[in-house]
């Protein structure tokens, strides 16, 4: 079996060294909590709701790269592709709590759900109120009537951006929770894989996919998608994905959306722009207005080849919070007007 070729030091230090590198990249705006795999903002405003994001590592810049101004207040990182542990979630919760409680925001995976729930119980024992929003944007992962079984993928970016905005403006946990749920409920995504990434600790591929095939809907960890085929032209794949995404919410004529074309790891910007061209064409033809377009590697799975498309439908409230300026490792953006 072909093994991945990676520039690493000790396999046991991958997450720790990644976070140290990230803290340096932030240039003094965040710090790590001792040796814990937790990154928090240096300056937190009293009276603000803490926004804690997190999940398994290996998807960089998700989640720790989204700590920043008008974004998350802290992030807790698990080992590669494994949910963070409850003791570290508790540490992070205490660090981002400014007296108004903490919103947990993460992708809907069994491991994250179990560990964040344990963390929430431990936080409650210490008198910290938490609420949880699980992101389930991946339309390929379960039918609409089982939406709470769906996985969280790159749509995380939109939900974090809105949640960060509302948490910066409103010091009330219930209100931050309400708006964040609305952002989640208006977000849909779908991915396609052309090749697996490799597990950094073993060098082995995270899933098996024949060299000449692609799989639409395949998950970030190799979870089964909806259809496997020989490699298809960019427009054909894009159309197939959009058909499922658009009909799911559904997104209809007159809607205004944000668009994210996410690189899953090793797909080129050349390809992403070709895909973006097609998405804009299709949405224009459907009478859907694109308010903002993000293109890049936000939610990756090591060197996995492939991309995902995410849409978030806006209303005035979501637009207001989405449009706030943000500053983080993964996303720097001025106010959108």
């Amino acid at each position: 079996m072909k093994k991945g070729k990676k520039f690493l030091n000790s396999s046991k230090q991958i997450v720790s060294e990644t976070l140290d590198g990230l803290v340096f990249a932030y240039g003094g705006k965040v710090h790590r909590l001792g040796s814990a795999n937790v990154i928090v903002l240096n300056q937190m405003r009293p009276g603000k709701v803490g926004l804690l994001v997190g999940g398994g590592s290996g998807h960089e810049p998700l989640f720790p790269g989204f700590v920043g101004k008008n974004l998350a207040s802290g992030a807790v990182a698990g080992n590669i592709f494994a949910a963070p542990t409850p003791d570290q979630i508790l540490l992070a919760t205490k660090a981002v709590n400014c007296g108004q409680g903490v919103l947990y925001l993460y992708g809907n995976y069994a491991g994250d759900n179990l560990n964040f729930d344990l963390g929430a119980e431990m936080a409650a024992d210490e008198g910290i109120e938490t609420k949880t929003v699980r992101i389930w944007d991946d339309v390929a992962s379960a039918p609409l009537d089982c939406i709470t079984d769906r996985r969280g993928i790159a749509g995380d970016v939109f939900v974090i951006k809105v949640a960060g905005g509302v948490a910066a403006e409103v010091g009330d946990l219930d209100e931050v929770y309400r708006v964040t749920c609305k952002a989640r409920d208006n977000t849909r995504s779908m991915g396609v894989a052309a090749a697996a990434g490799t597990f950094p600790e073993t060098g082995l591929p995270t899933f098996d996919l024949p060299d000449d095939e692609i799989e639409i809907g395949l998950g970030l960890h190799g979870e089964q998608g909806v259809s496997r085929s020989k490699l298809l032209p960019a427009d054909v794949v894009t159309d197939q994905m959009l058909e499922r995404i658009l009909s799911d919410l559904p997104y209809v004529e007159g809607d205004e959306v944000c668009l994210l074309i996410n690189n899953l790891g090793s797909t080129t910007m050349t390809e992403l722009l070709i895909i973006n061209r097609r998405v804009h064409e299709v949405l224009n033809q459907s009478g859907i207005t694109i308010h903002d377009t993000l293109i890049g590697a936000f939610c990756t799975s090591q060197e996995m080849a492939g991309f995902s498309i995410s849409l978030m439908k806006l209303d005035d409230e979501l637009k207001k919070y989405y449009d706030m300026p943000v500053e983080s490792f993964a996303l720097v953006k001025g106010a959108i007007s």
């Binding site: 179990l114 560990n115 379960a142 073993t202």
Partner: protein, 219 residues
């Protein structure tokens, strides 16, 4: 035949379990790669390395402390669903073992049954969902039947039930956790958590058989 272990022998039994789980991490990783992302072996090894360190350095005043330390070590180092579940097994399993100094078949039955209850409350898995519960539940049931037998006898019977439970997961379609999205593709493969649970019970049995061979103090 060993009928029971002292507290320190129990500690050494779990040191033996830890050493052997670490040794089979590639096998566990392969089992996970078939239906998951392949990190289960690395995760179990990381958890049991932490267990090994704690058991070598700590002193314990009862079985409950010993099991809690194992549970918290797994919970705080493994991560993922398996860290929460395996940690909960040992933590939950300590519930009725406060200040107990002897590990016999009755205490084993408490450990497995209280552990099972805690795991099911946490993870909501039932028998048939293709999880470690498919091993732990039959093992716990046999443990109650064998509660008056010597420890070695009961562990032998528990292991038979556990292996049967593990085999049964091959015929199941995953409905929980990450493997659920594989649907029918998960058929034919055992659940990795069920495999690990089975090995933990096997290494406990092997340690009891070899109890005389364990040096009095490896620390």
């Amino acid at each position: 035949m060993k009928s029971a272990l002292t507290l320190d022998e129990t500690r050494q039994m779990f040191l033996y379990v830890a050493k052997n789980i670490i040794a089979i991490q590639d096998l566990l990783g392969e089992a996970d790669r078939a239906i998951g992302d392949g990190d289960h072996g690395v995760g179990m090894a990381r958890g049991f390395e932490a267990v090994e360190a704690k058991l070598n350095s700590g002193s314990f005043n009862g079985l409950d402390e010993l099991f809690k330390v194992i549970g918290i070590s797994l919970l705080t180092t493994m991560g993922g669903a398996s860290g929460a579940i395996f940690g909960t097994w040992f933590r939950g399993g300590s519930k009725n073992l406060a200040a107990q100094m002897i590990f016999d078949s009755e205490h084993l039955a408490w450990f497995l049954n209280d552990g099972l209850q805690a795991v099911q409350e946490r993870g909501k898995a039932k028998v048939g969902d293709k999880t470690m519960v498919d091993v732990l539940a039959p093992a716990a049931a046999v443990a109650i039947e064998m509660a008056n037998q010597p420890l070695e006898t009961s562990l032998n019977q528990i292991l038979v039930a556990a292996e049967k439970g593990m085999e049964s997961t091959k015929q199941m379609v995953a409905t929980l956790g990450r493997a659920k999205s594989l649907g029918e593709r998960s058929l034919g493969h055992p659940d990795p958590g069920a495999v690990s649970t089975c090995y933990i019970l096997k290494f406990m049995r092997d340690a009891v058989i070899q109890a005389e061979l364990i040096p009095p103090d490896r620390a």
